[in-house]
Symmetry: C2
Subunit: 419 residues, 2 copies
């Protein structure tokens, strides 16, 4: 049995924390965390939920399931409480789905670091499908048909597609027409769609159209989300899943509940109290979500402008807090620095320029590609005061600590471009 | 793929809750939960930990790992913080161990409902080995040698043994000489011992000798524990694991951390704050643990007396909060009631006598055996006031709500014995 590795984004985060603690100056864009404080009413709910020390139902209490159902209903997805299961993060739910649904998995290439390893843990094969030019987070529909044909010809059995919109690592949102094209392939090829919508509540422009595949092919779409990204609660571990209405969805929900009962029992009771409040979306939570999304959009755009000015190609970010530039246009000059692929680019950036990013190869991208993910949500400041100031600022780019970090980044990429 | 079931203890708990809500009078002994309130300083720690919303290290923060190391050191197991990993319950840790260590699994028969399904989820075979006459939670050493020989002859590869002491479902503690005998087999046959010590801090007699296999064969023993049972925090989901010192232990720790990073990321930050406090064992926590253990012992003994008086054979409970009687002596008279196996006994008890228990078959025991587990920790009352009174009472058996429930149980078993 080969030695297993820690998920590369978590590993990089630990490395940077160590080097910063040793006094090194590093701009950390390497970790997919929203570095913002806890919205105080959420902390109040956690404290108020301490009495919930009984195990409770595996799928979650009635109250939290009803709140999550309402959340989906307000997004054009009519939902009953019994279609919902809560869990300690969306990660275990995604694994459970892999465990209970038969067949192999199709993944956008690049995609979030964990989908592939989870497929392996569940005894499945994962097939990467290149993303289209318009956006990340979805396989290119034509390439997906091609991959399915080729996989079947080799005796494999692709039956699940994972979509992420807005996307990690590209920070883009799939346009409705692409979602419809994917859904058409799913219908033709009898695929289950797992729609990871954990960045859905971080649109940079609230007016941007959003289409969930669950609106198009509800009977074959599972939606997964959580509070880690939108409410900066990664360390609290709150995830939810919505199953389709009807016997197929019920069966899959029961199967996931069964796996849950053997792996994690239930979401911690006090966290269920938090989730019930957050997913009911009172006005103050909505206002906080809007302010967070505005900040994420502003800073992502600033980093996008810097990398494009340095000569990279890049899809403009539209949701979440990532930028995913491609330095292919600079391949020749970068080669003179010893930078010839994603890994050497990542190494050069952290060691020569003090910028921590995660190379595309960690997201399943072509190892030779000069692409990486910059998590711009790490720029809001290392103190709670700085983070609150960023959230409240009319123009967060003018705050000294953010302006300084952006200047560091600009200097770094200008130097990189100069060769 | 066959339809999966929810873990039977959680399923029974949900059934009883529904029927009680409908107004039925049921004495609920069917669920392995310590029905006690949260010790208030733990709630304070959770509230104080709300600021911990960053992901943090997969294995847990330095503070909580150091506290857990101290906990083990005080129990004769010198431990460094780097040997410790925390998680949302001991359940995911046990699964991860199954996933990273090769080979099949040997389980005491009967044992906790989840070990077997977890082995299956990890793609392993589980072999039940009968428990010795002295106690549950450990395979009979001679029977274990026999099972290993037979399994290998069939081409299987048993390499892991799971021990539970004090035990679920029998409520007994393995005597040191049996632990030594198991360790000798493990040495001879090169087995990994997974010692589930989640009931360790609930000894009915604090002077009772306790030997962890980690004291005998430290290099091949992994210890798993948590706060769900001792501090009645099942719904908070806090578990820990201790790996052996040295390269073998480090490798397994890294492998488990890798699996953790793909399944659950980390224990929620506020829960780590709770764990750091609880595992540091300040005097007030120790006093609360002692009071809890005394209550558990008193009530388990009372139920033991009732079932033995009704004609059952039963190992005297010595730790945790379970009693596991065997009604074999009443087989003939029970047959006249239509009770011929564990399932029909469980059904008769809940439907005719209003007593909810979990039949031995759910713990992997012989389906024909007239055995069940009674979780006596469910008797402390359904209100917080009643539970606090139970904890503080000089003689909890004299409290009206406990005396009444015991009277119901006594009436039920007297009726059962009368046939």
């Amino acid at each position: 049995m080969g030695r297993r590795k820690v998920s590369p984004n978590l590993a990089l985060d630990q490395l940077v924390a160590r080097r910063q603690a040793e006094g090194e100056r590093i701009v950390h864009l390497g970790f997919g965390e929203s570095r913002l404080p806890v919205f105080p009413p959420l902390a109040d709910r956690l404290a108020a939920g301490t009495d919930r020390n009984a195990y409770g139902p595996v799928v979650g209490d009635a109250g939290v399931r009803a709140a999550v159902a309402g959340y989906f209903a307000r997004r054009g997805l009519p939902t009953e409480a019994h279609q919902v299961v809560v869990a300690p993060g969306s990660k275990p739910l995604l694994l459970a789905l892999d465990m209970v649904h038969p067949g192999d998995v199709l993944l956008p290439q690049p995609c979030w670091v964990t989908y592939g390893p989870q497929a392996t843990l569940a005894g499945k094969r994962a097939f990467g499908v290149p993303i289209p030019p318009e956006c990340g987070g979805v396989p290119d529909p034509d390439a997906m048909r091609e991959t399915i044909r080729a996989a079947r010809a080799l005796g494999h059995d692709p039956r699940i597609v994972v979509l992420t919109s807005p996307d990690n690592p590209t920070g883009t949102t799939a346009p409705p027409e692409i979602i419809r094209a994917i859904c058409a392939v799913a219908e033709d090829e009898d695929l289950l769609l797992v729609s990871d919508e954990i960045y859905r509540d971080i649109p940079h422009d609230p007016a941007m159209p959003y289409l969930s595949p669950a609106e198009v092919v509800p009977h074959r779409t599972i939606v997964v989300t959580g509070l880690s990204k939108s409410l900066a609660l990664g360390g609290w571990r709150i995830g939810v899943v919505r199953f389709p209405e009807g016997p197929g969805g019920e069966r899959m929900r029961d199967d996931v509940a069964s796996v849950a009962s053997e792996i994690w029992s239930t979401l911690a009771g006090p966290m269920q109290a938090v989730a019930e409040y957050a997913f009911s979306e009172p006005p103050e939570v909505c206002a906080h979500l809007r302010a967070s999304a505005r900040l994420h959009g502003t800073v992502a755009k600033a980093v996008y402008d810097i990398v494009v000015a340095a000569g990279a190609q890049c899809r403009p970010p539209t949701g979440g807090f990532y930028v995913y530039p491609d330095f292919a246009p600079l391949r020749e000059s970068l080669a003179r620095l010893g930078v010839t692929d994603g890994e050497s680019l990542q190494r050069h950036l952290i060691e020569e320029l003090g910028i921590a990013v995660l190379a595309g190869v960690h997201f399943g991208d072509d190892p030779r590609a000069l692409r990486f993910r910059a998590a711009t949500s790490m720029l809001y400041g290392r103190t709670r005061g700085g983070q609150w100031a960023a959230l409240r600022a009319e123009d967060p780019l003018k705050l000294p600590h953010i302006a300084e970090a952006l200047a560091d980044i600009e200097r770094g990429f200008t130097k990189l471009a100069a060769g």
